[in-house]
Amino acid sequence: MLLRRKLVWIFGSLVALLLVTAVGAIWLLQGVLRELHHLDTHAWAIVKQSNRLATTISMVEIELYELELGRQRHLDRLIELVESMQGEVNGVSRSYVTELPENRAVFGRIRDAVSRFAVHVTALGTAQDPEWAAHHRREASAAAVGLRRDILLLTQSVGAHGEAEQADLTNRFRWLVLGLTIVFLAVINISIIALLRMTGMILKPVEKLVQATRELGKERFDWRVELDQKDEFDELARAYNSLAAQLQANEQRKLEMLGQVALTLNHELNNAAEIIELQLQLADRQAGGNPAMDRCARQIRESLNRMTRTVELLKQVRRIVLTDYVSGVKMLDLERSALPDEQNDPARAVNSAGNGTDAGPCG
């Protein structure tokens, strides 16, 4: 569970980091979108509304002209246009750009001019006297001229302001993209490091355990696995070390027992060998140079020497290395069992079926 917890922590932190980065990026980009929306609904919308206002004024002037020429008797279209004009001015007034110092005076004049314009236009509707109607038409036209001029000024000012805002926004967006790129690169690097650490947490101990298993296969019972992860791999390493120690202890006991057996054999065989050697010397004296007797005596001595050497080797056994004796039966390989550790290579072990004894002519 410790390993799982560690992995969950690392993985969870990584996911949290990615989420936070994503949310932060979205939030920042939303900020840019909000600014764009603000630009669209205020600066550019004001420009559009100002243009519409100018168009409405033109349409009002057309209606006034139609009235003057007598081509139009009805005022409803004119009323609608005046109301539309007032609505457009109110729409413009709701934007913050009209409160900017450079636009406040201009917009104030526009508002006054629209009021004057509306007054003269509506007075035109009630003026029954032709001279009085002409007076109001002239005043309305003069107000319209001033309106157009101020609307143009406002449009230019708002347009310039909008362009400046847009340039600023573009610059900020550029820096934002750069910043986000750096952040995402950093996040990618952190992710790679975290993933590498996660794999390291698993692969390193696995490698060590596999290596230890291989050494165990080579009967290197003194090989130990050292881990300091404080998790399940530590437990596995301790289990392995315990097993290796047990195997090593078993091997050591076997060698000790073999050594004791060798000592016992050495003691008993040496006594017997000495007696046999003494008798052989007596037999040689009595044989009086008989070649056949000499040959037999020589073979007996060689066999005795071989026995002595075998027992000697048995005393020098360092490990248990087996070889095949007959099918299904193994015996101790004395040569290899007595070799020093660095010369012992299980890979070179020969799976022999021989019994290791020579038959002589004396037999």
Binding site: R34, H74, S84
Partner: protein, 317 residues
Amino acid sequence: MRCILLLLLGVVLGAGLYALWQWTVRGQPSSGVLPTTMPATPDNAIRIGLIPEHDVLELRRSYKVLTDYLGRKLGRPVVPVTLSTYEAVLADLREQQIEGAFMGSLVGLLAIDRFGAQCLVKPELLDGVSTYRGLIFVRQDSPIRDLDDLRGRSIALLRATYAGTLFPLAELVKRDLINGQRAVRIVWMGTHDEVMEAVASGRAEVGAVKDLRYQAYVATHADHRFRILASAKPVPNNALVMRGDVADTLGRQIAEILLNMHTDPEGRTALAAISARRFIPCARAEYDPIYEITETIGPAWSLVGTSGPVPRRPGAR
């Protein structure tokens, strides 16, 4: 467990994307501009003319409520048509561009006289008044005491109205103050309020307006004090005059609705919009004070500001 987590993740992702989409869609600005083109008048619409007296925007707004009510009751659209001059309303009646109009007494009389129009109903205002009078007035501090003192003075008048033209001209004719050395100097104004302003400011020494506008002006200009020299006989205020060919059919339907609308909550709302309590019948005989003037005004009729002959009482032709 894994499937549940994946499903949950899918739901959260879907919800997030939907929220993001809604945010981007909601952020689109609206145009928020009034239309600058008028919708076309339906072919079966009833057109009722309006002649603005002081605020053409306010007049149309308030009578739109009334015409909408009429339209709902009649089952046909009723459209207000705002006319620029009294001549315009007479021309529209002649050319059958409108079925009727709410009009002043002089123009109403001309419509009755020339086109056989009929006056049907008139509004009774909140104070119970359904008529108006003409007033001739001066500033409180004026040395003019009565109409005989008008010789050589300046007088502010309105064109083509009973109170602002016909009545004062008739008084001037009686006193031979139109022509010659005793003639007054006429200053033509556009609205009743402008006449009041002209007298208050001294641009004119005398003024002639309708009493209803006089009272409204005095109520809002407490610092201006005036003195009334003469007042005319009452005549119908803003009556509904229908074209002769539709007066007995469509006119009767409309009159019935208007006469009963004060019993209907919706009707009362429409009446409140035009500052009226109810509609009451209007008879042609109520215009007789105008005939009394037109029969005596003589050549001064040309100063009234309307074209065509002097209207004569029926039976006097």
